[in-house]
C-alpha cells in the first residue's frame, strides 16, 4: 500500500486516501447536549444562589494577573504601596490621593513578603517615584521558598512574563468575577471545599497551615475592604479568623532533617541578608531620586501580643530603619493612629481604613518631606 503510485486526484497532497475515521458512538447527541446544558445552568444557578445566601458577594479575586495589571501602570514618578495585607486593607486610595496629590497604585499583596516587589521596582531603571512599604516582620523576613515569598514572586514573574493569552483571560475574567459570587478559588472551589472536610489527620503529620476564609472584597484598583459581617463587633467570623492568625503567625518547629544549629544559623544568615538586600535596593531607588517610607499598620489583641513577642520592634523595625536610613511610621508612636481596633486582630474595617488613611497622610507627608 505504501509504495503504490498515488492517483491523479491524490497527487495534490499525495499519499493514500484517508483510511482513518473516528467512530462516533450512536446516541441522540443533540438531545443529550440540550439536557446537559439545562442541568449545568440549573446547577450553577442553584450553587450561585446558595453561595449568596451564605453571604458571599461577587468580587474580584486577588490573583497575579490583577496585580500585573496594576504593576503595568506604574509610571516613573508614581506613588506605589507595597507589602502585605495590612497595607492592602488599611489604605484608602481616595484619602491618599487627597493628601498626597497623586493617586497611589496598590501593589500590596495578602500573605506576601515585600522583597520581590521592592527588588523589582529597584531594578526598574525608569522608576524614581515614592514607595510606601508595609512592614509585618514575620512576612518581611520570609525566606526564599516560603509561601509569602512565592506569592510575591508569582506576581512579579507574571508581570514580566505575561503572555497575550493570559492578558486576554484576565480581561475576560474580571466582569465574570464582578457578577458571580461563587468564583472564589480560595473558598468555594472543589479543592477548597474538600479541604474543609473534617477528617482527622495522623498523629505527627506535618499538615499545611489553614488560611482565613473570605472576608474582603476588592475592586479593579485592588482596594480591599473588609466584609461588614466580619467588622461587626464580636462577630463569629472575626473570632474564627483571630484563631487562624495565631498558628499562622507562630513559627513551626525546625524540620526534622536539618540539625537545629545549622537551621538557625541559616535562618539568621537569611535575615541578615534580607536587611542587606533591602538596604541596597533602597539605595538604588534613592540614587535615582526616589523615596521609600516604611509603615507599621495597626494590629490588635492576641495577634499583637504574639507579634510583639516573636518579632519585637527593637530587633526588627528599629534596625531596619537604622540600616536603610529610610523614614518609618510606627502606628503606636502616634496617639491619633493607635486608637484603632482590628476586628479580626490584623486589619482595619473598611470604615476605619478611611479614617486611618486620613490620619496617616500628614505623617507620610512629613516623612517624605512633601
Amino acid at each position: 500500500m505504501f509504495f503504490r503510485k498515488p492517483s491523479r486526484e491524490e497527487q495534490i497532497h499525495g499519499g493514500p486516501p484517508l483510511e482513518f475515521e473516528r467512530p462516533i458512538p450512536p446516541a441522540p447527541w443533540r438531545g443529550i447536549a440540550v439536557v446537559v446544558t439545562i442541568v449545568v445552568i440549573a446547577a450553577t444557578t442553584a450553587w450561585e444562589l446558595y453561595c449568596r445566601s451564605l453571604g458571599y458577594a461577587p468580587t474580584l479575586n486577588d490573583d497575579e494577573d490583577l496585580w500585573t495589571q496594576r504593576r503595568r501602570i506604574v509610571a516613573p514618578e508614581s506613588i506605589v504601596i507595597i507589602g502585605d495585607s495590612r497595607a492592602w486593607f488599611d489604605v484608602d486610595l481616595d484619602e491618599f490621593q487627597k493628601g498626597l496629590g497623586k493617586r497611589p497604585i496598590q501593589l500590596a499583596m495578602a500573605g506576601s513578603t515585600v522583597w520581590p516587589a521592592l527588588a523589582d521596582l529597584a531594578d526598574d531603571k525608569n522608576f524614581h517615584g515614592t514607595i510606601i512599604c508595609s512592614v509585618v516582620p514575620f512576612l518581611f523576613f520570609a525566606p526564599p521558598g516560603s509561601p509569602p515569598m512565592e506569592r510575591a514572586e508569582k506576581g512579579v514573574k507574571r508581570f514580566h512574563n505575561q503572555t497575550p493569552a493570559q492578558r486576554v483571560s484576565e480581561y475576560l475574567a474580571m466582569p465574570l468575577e464582578e457578577h458571580v459570587a461563587f468564583l472564589k478559588p480560595d473558598d468555594l472551589s472543589l479543592e477548597a471545599l474538600l479541604n474543609q472536610l473534617p477528617i482527622p489527620n495522623r498523629p505527627g503529620a506535618l499538615v499545611p497551615p489553614r488560611f482565613p476564609p473570605y472576608f474582603q472584597t476588592e475592586d479593579r484598583e485592588r482596594r480591599a475592604r473588609m466584609w461588614e459581617k466580619c467588622a461587626e463587633p464580636g462577630s463569629e467570623l472575626a473570632k474564627k479568623i483571630q484563631q487562624i492568625w495565631l498558628p499562622l503567625f507562630t513559627p513551626p518547629p525546625p524540620p526534622t532533617y536539618v540539625p537545629k544549629d545549622v537551621f538557625f544559623a541559616q535562618m539568621n544568615e537569611g535575615i541578615q541578608k534580607r536587611f542587606a538586600d533591602v538596604t541596597a535596593a533602597i539605595e538604588k531607588i534613592r540614587s535615582r531620586g526616589g523615596k521609600v517610607v516604611f509603615v507599621r499598620f495597626p494590629n490588635s489583641g492576641g495577634l499583637k501580643e504574639l507579634e510583639d513577642r516573636i518579632t519585637p520592634r527593637e530587633k526588627t523595625w528599629d534596625p531596619l530603619l537604622k540600616m536603610t536610613g529610610a523614614p518609618g511610621i510606627y502606628y503606636s508612636d502616634f496617639p491619633e493612629l493607635s486608637g484603632f481596633n482590628c476586628p479580626e486582630w490584623s486589619h482595619l474595617s473598611a470604615g476605619d481604613s478611611v479614617e486611618f488613611s486620613k490620619r496617616l497622610v500628614p505623617h507620610l507627608r512629613a516623612a517624605l518631606k512633601m
Binding site: 473516528r22 462516533i24 447527541w29 443533540r30 493570559q166 479543592e191 535562618m267
Partner: protein, 501 residues
C-alpha cells in the same frame, strides 16, 4: 493559549462559528491557518515566525526530496531536513544542557571553562511541531507520501491548533489527505467532539490539578525523608496526574479537531492496564511511540537483527525518547529504565511465553500490576528535578530512611487512593475495548448524567489555568517549590534567638 482558559473558550467559539459559517473550503482552511497562528502567537508572537520559517523550509525540502534523482541525492536532502529540524530543537531545548555537560566534562580533565549563559526562551510546543514537520520529509523520503503542492495546506498540517503544542503527534501523511475535501458538518460528530473536550477538561482540571497534583508536588518538593506510605502516595498521585493531564489534553485536541471535521487518532488506550512494557508503549503516548518505532527503531534494524542488536536498538530508542521529554539526565534515566524494562520483557518472553501457565489469568493480573509498579518507579525519575530527590524518593518508597516524616493529610491519602483505584479499575475494565464502545454500552440517561456531572465539576472546580505537564517538556524538569513549614521553621523562642531578634 491553554485549553483550560477563558481565552480559549472564547477563541474556540469564534473559530467554530466562523468555520462552519464560511462557504468556501479554501476560505475555511485560510481561517484555520490564521486561527492556529493566533493560538500559537498568544504565547509569544515572535515564535510564530520561527514556526512558519521551519515549516516553509520543510515544505521546500520535501519537494527537493521528491524531485531528486537517485537515492543518494534524496538522502542528502533528507539529511538537510533532519539537521535543520533537530538543530532548531537542539539549540532551543538542549543548548544550555549541552553547555553545562561540556563544562562538567572539561572540569573532569582539569580545564575550568565558564560557558556564557544562553538566555534561551524556549518556543512552546517545539518538540511536537518539529516532529509534525519532520514526519513530512521522512515520509516523502520513504515513498509513503507525495509532496503537497499547497504551502498553505502544509502550514495548516503542521500548525493545526488542537494538536500544535502538546500533541498528539499528527503525521502530515495522516492530516494532509483530510484537507482534500471539505468535511461536512455532522451533528453527532460535532457533539461527540464537545463531549470529548468536556471529558478532557474534567481529567485535567478536576482529576489531575485538583485531586492529585497538590499531593504529588508536596511529596516531591519535600526536602526531608518521608515514610513509605507518603512516598508511594506521592508517586501514585503523580502517575495519575500525568495520565489525566496528558490524556486530558489529547482528548481535548481530538474533540476540538472533531468539531471542525478532522479525525485524529487515539493517543492513549488504557495504559495502566498494560501487561508488559511493549503493551504499555502500545497504549501510552501512542503517537510518539509509533513515531519512534517507524522513524528510528525500524531504520535501526528493529527486531529483524540479532537479539543483542535488537535489544540495543530498544535501549537507543528509549534513551532518545527520554531525552525528547526534557533536557535533563533524569529524563534520560527514565528512558533507559523503560529501555531496560523492554529488554527484560523480551528475555522473559523467550523463556516463558510458551509455558501454559504464563497465559493464565492470575499470572496476567500479576504481570499487569508488576508493569504498573515498574512504570511508577520510573516516574520517580521523570518527576524528580534531580537525582538527589529521586534517590530520596526511592529510599522512602523502600523504607530506607531511619527517621521519616508524614506530610500528607488523611484527605489527600483518601483522594489519591480512591482516584488511583478508580483509574486502574476503569483501565482494566476497558483494556480490550475502545472508549467509544464503552460509551455505546451506557444507557442514554447515564451518558447525560455523567456529562452533566463532569461539566458541573469543571465549572465548580474553578481551575486556575495550570499549564499542562507536557508543555514543560521544553528543557527542564517541572518547577519546584519548597513547602513553607520546611524552610520557615523554628520554635518561637529558638527562632528569635537564632535570628538575633
Amino acid at each position: 493559549m491553554l485549553f483550560n482558559s477563558l481565552t480559549f473558550i472564547v477563541f474556540f467559539a469564534i473559530v467554530v462559528t466562523l468555520y462552519w459559517g464560511l462557504h468556501g473550503w479554501e476560505l475555511r482552511k485560510n481561517l484555520l491557518v490564521v486561527a492556529s497562528y493566533i493560538f500559537y502567537g498568544a504565547w509569544n508572537p515572535p515564535f510564530a515566525a520561527l514556526l512558519f520559517s521551519t515549516t516553509c523550509m520543510d515544505f521546500w525540502l520535501g519537494r527537493q526530496i521528491a524531485r531528486a534523482q537517485g537515492s543518494h541525492r534524496k538522502r542528502r536532502w533528507l539529511v538537510a531536513s533532519v539537521c535543520m529540524n533537530l538543530s532548531m530543537l537542539g539549540f532551543f531545548k538542549y543548548g544550555n544542557f549541552l553547555l553545562q555537560n561540556f563544562q562538567w566534562l572539561l572540569a573532569r580533565i582539569g580545564i575550568v571553562y565558564q560557558p556564557p549563559h544562553l538566555d534561551i526562551l524556549l518556543p512552546v510546543g517545539i518538540s511536537f511541531y518539529t516532529f509534525h514537520s519532520l514526519s513530512y520529509t521522512l515520509d516523502i523520503y520513504r515513498g509513503v507520501l507525495q509532496p503537497t503542492r499547497s504551502l498553505r495546506d502544509f502550514v495548516l498540517a503542521v500548525s493545526f491548533f488542537p494538536q500544535l503544542v502538546a500533541g498528539p503527534i499528527v503525521r502530515a501523511g495522516d492530516f494532509l489527505p483530510q484537507l482534500r475535501h471539505p468535511p461536512r458538518l455532522k451533528e453527532n460528530q460535532f457533539f461527540w467532539g464537545l463531549a470529548l473536550m468536556t471529558l478532557g477538561l474534567f481529567e485535567k482540571i478536576v482529576l489531575a490539578d485538583t485531586l492529585l497534583s497538590g499531593s504529588a508536588d508536596r511529596v516531591f518538593n519535600y526536602a526531608g525523608p518521608l515514610v513509605a506510605l507518603d512516598s508511594w502516595a506521592g508517586v501514585l498521585a503523580f502517575a495519575g496526574q500525568i495520565f489525566f493531564d496528558f490524556a486530558g489534553y489529547s482528548l481535548c485536541a481530538i474533540g476540538a479537531a472533531l468539531t471542525l471535521g478532522f479525525h485524529l487518532k487515539d493517543n492513549f488506550r488504557f495504559p495502566y492496564a498494560a501487561i508488559g512494557f511493549s503493551d504499555f508503549w502500545r497504549r501510552w503516548h501512542i503517537s510518539l511511540s509509533t513515531f519512534l518505532r517507524d522513524y528510528l527503531y525500524i531504520p535501526l534494524g528493529g527486531n529483524q537483527v540479532r537479539p543483542f542488536r535488537a535489544a540495543l536498538n530498544l535501549v537507543i530508542v528509549m534513551f532518545l525518547g527520554g531525552l525528547w521529554h526534557g533536557a535533563a539526565w533524569t529524563f534520560v534515566v527514565w528512558g533507559l529504565l523503560h529501555g531496560s524494562y523492554l529488554v527484560i520483557e523480551r528475555v522473559f518472553r523467550v523463556l516463558f511465553e510458551a509455558k501454559q501457565w504464563a497465559s493464565t489469568l492470575p499470572v496476567r493480573v500479576i504481570a499487569g500490576f508488576a508493569t504498573y509498579a515498574a512504570v511508577c518507579i520510573a516516574w520517580v525519575f521523570f518527576r524528580a528535578p534531580d537525582f538527589t530527590v529521586a534517590s530520596r524518593m526511592l529510599g522512602g518508597m523502600f523504607g530506607q530512611h531511619a527517621q521519616d516524616d508524614a506530610i500528607l493529610t488523611t484527605r489527600e491519602l483518601l483522594q489519591i487512593g480512591s482516584v488511583t483505584a478508580a483509574l486502574i479499575a476503569m483501565h482494566w475494565g476497558m483494556r480490550d475495548n475502545t472508549f467509544e464502545t464503552a460509551v455505546m454500552r451506557l444507557p442514554h440517561w447515564a451518558i447525560t448524567a455523567i456529562g452533566s456531572a463532569m461539566a458541573c465539576a469543571v465549572i465548580f472546580t474553578q481551575g486556575n489555568s495550570n499549564a499542562f505537564i507536557y508543555f514543560q517538556f521544553q528543557g527542564t524538569a517541572p518547577a519546584t517549590a519548597l513547602v513553607f513549614p520546611q524552610t520557615f521553621a523554628g520554635g518561637t523562642d529558638s527562632w528569635r534567638s537564632a535570628s538575633g531578634i
